[in-house]
């Protein structure tokens, strides 16, 4: 399938009356792998939350698979079920009595209330397959709270792959991993992207990984400073502009307000 999977048009978000995001516009083509980069506090996680419909904003600024995202995050169930999200971390206590296979099974059902035993056999087979594909086959009966950081990230990918989806959003999913684990995670992500045909939007601080693996980069610091290929956007000059909050302020205001 081709076409635009995600379109964001002039998106602004206010927090306590202060603009956190201003006039952000971009679109993601099907099967593209896009990185969202920028300094801490640039609004990357806010943008992700807005795109997922988790923040109040004006309607019609975001379109997913051709459907406008409502002001309260409403989307048709058929569209909502096409979105997968990998958070930075989970609120796991020292002991959280949820087995890995159970967690991955929660990703299998489409949105809405249902009996826990609905389509039990289908879910069990899908979970088993998802765990195998993410090299977690031996982790099914372990508790989520017993996993290492790298294992937990792979399980989160199993949660995404347990059912076909089109848009995958990762919010600093590799944070807290050591270098080899990051490489393994990225390798697995690319492998699954190839198989599943996911369109990816990933927030990342690792510019080397972004340079090697992504085909589009969005440089954000409250507004979109620049976007394009990694070679174009991640040059030293561009990076110094992105990570300096005042560098492009004048030209942006000029652009916005004529």
């Amino acid at each position: 399938m081709s076409g635009v999977v995600l379109r964001v048009q002039d998106l602004s978000v206010l927090r306590g009356g202060t603009p956190v995001l201003e006039g952000v516009s971009f679109s993601l083509q099907s099967r593209s792998n896009t990185a969202l980069v920028g300094p801490n506090g640039a609004g990357k996680s806010t943008l992700v939350a807005a795109v997922l419909g988790l923040l109040p904003r004006s309607p019609c600024e975001v379109e997913i698979l051709g459907h406008p995202l409502g002001a309260e995050g409403q989307l048709p169930r058929s569209v909502r079920s096409q979105i997968a999200y990998v958070p930075q971390n989970l609120a796991l206590q020292r002991r959280f009595p949820l087995a890995v296979a159970e967690f991955v099974g929660f990703g299998f059902d489409s949105p809405g209330p249902r009996c826990p035993w609905h389509n039990r056999q289908g879910r069990r087979l899908a979970v088993q397959r998802a765990l195998e594909r993410t090299r977690c086959a031996d982790l099914g009966q372990r508790l989520l709270s017993e996993l290492s950081g790298g294992q937990l990230k792979r399980v989160l990918l199993a949660f995404c792959v347990v059912r076909p989806r089109r848009l995958l959003v990762l919010d600093e999913a590799q944070a807290g991993l050591d270098a080899p684990s990051k490489e393994q995670f990225q390798h697995l992500l690319l492998e699954l992207c190839g198989q599943e045909g996911w369109t990816v939007l990933q927030v990342s601080h690792d510019l080397d990984l972004v340079r090697r693996n992504c085909d589009q980069v969005l440089c954000l610091n409250r507004w979109l400073r620049c976007s394009g290929s990694p070679d174009h956007t991640l040059s030293p000059e561009r990076l110094s502009e992105i990570y300096d909050p005042n560098a492009q302020c004048g030209s942006y205001r000029q652009h916005r307000h004529g």
Binding site: L52, L54, I83, Y85, P97, L98, A99, E102, P111, P113
Partner: protein, 274 residues
């Protein structure tokens, strides 16, 4: 009528007392209240709402006092009052910059103080402050049992049908939202349900011990379970069975009922910990 002590104790050294209707109602009430506390507690503990149930319990005293002052059945006042306090606390936590535990402390200590001041205006209260603080499970009526039973069935159905949403919400708000869970409404619905459960259980358990019914069986269940549905089931079963054992022990030893149940819960927790 049984010889009820100041803190819900009963002179029940005679095992024949088990055949008395009031004792049977008490045992059934303990079983249902314990199971309800364990069921809701299984989610409350993982969402770090343990202190919230404590605050609700203490605030409930103000609701009871208002009922007494207005001449209305305190139980009728208590349910909407507890739900209102829960919604108020939820909004305070959401919009205030202060830490949650500090806010909860402010709410519960000030409502407790207001309740004690208001109670001092009441010349005579038939039940007495001891009964409010420690509960009176022996005074439980068939109507109370009906309400608790209906609430248990309702809570069980709601949590079973929304199990995925509840677990995802517990793990990560954004993850739940991305899966189409209306996170704000779900959170509000859960704490309102918790508030209603606390309000309904106060008569049997008392203001001071209600949080133990929510927290201890669920914590024990957490230590013993390696599957989420099993954890919820274990918490409810532990809650119910500890209440039953505690009440029987209380009857046989002539000790106060509420504290006896909590001690049985605590012993169960210690056993699971070891």
């Amino acid at each position: 009528m049984p010889n009820v002590g100041p803190t819900g104790s009963t002179a029940m050294a005679d095992p024949g007392l088990l055949g008395e209707p009031f004792m049977q109602r008490a045992l059934l009430g303990g079983l249902l209240t314990g199971a309800l506390g364990g069921l809701l507690g299984s989610f409350a503990v993982l969402r770090q709402l343990s202190f919230f149930s404590d605050a609700l319990g203490h605030s409930a005293l103000l609701g009871i006092t208002l009922g007494i002052l207005l001449g209305i059945n305190p139980t009728v006042v208590l349910i909407p009052f507890a739900a209102m306090i829960a919604i108020l606390v939820n909004q305070l936590v959401k919009y205030s910059a202060l830490p949650t535990d500090a806010l909860l402390n402010i709410v519960y200590s000030s409502s407790l103080a207001a309740a004690v001041l208001a109670l001092s205006l009441v010349e005579t209260y038939r039940g007495g402050i001891q009964q409010l603080l420690f509960g009176d499970i022996l005074g439980i009526s068939w109507r109370d049992l009906g309400v608790i039973g209906a609430l248990l069935v309702g809570a069980l159905a709601y949590l079973a049908l929304s199990l995925r949403a509840q677990v995802l919400l517990t793990l990560n708000n954004n993850l739940a939202g991305s899966m189409g869970v209306r996170t704000g409404w779900r959170q509000l619905a859960f704490i309102t349900l918790l508030a209603v459960v606390v309000a309904v259980s106060i008569k049997a358990v008392g203001v001071l011990l209600i949080s133990a019914f929510v927290v201890i069986p669920a914590s024990t269940g957490c230590l013993l379970s390696r599957s989420f549905p099993l954890y919820v089931l274990n918490s409810a079963l532990l809650g119910g069975s500890c209440a039953l054992v505690g009440l029987l022990a209380s009857g046989l030893t002539n000790l106060p009922s509420g504290p006896s149940v909590v001690m049985v819960q605590f012993l169960g927790f210690l056993a699971a910990l070891i």
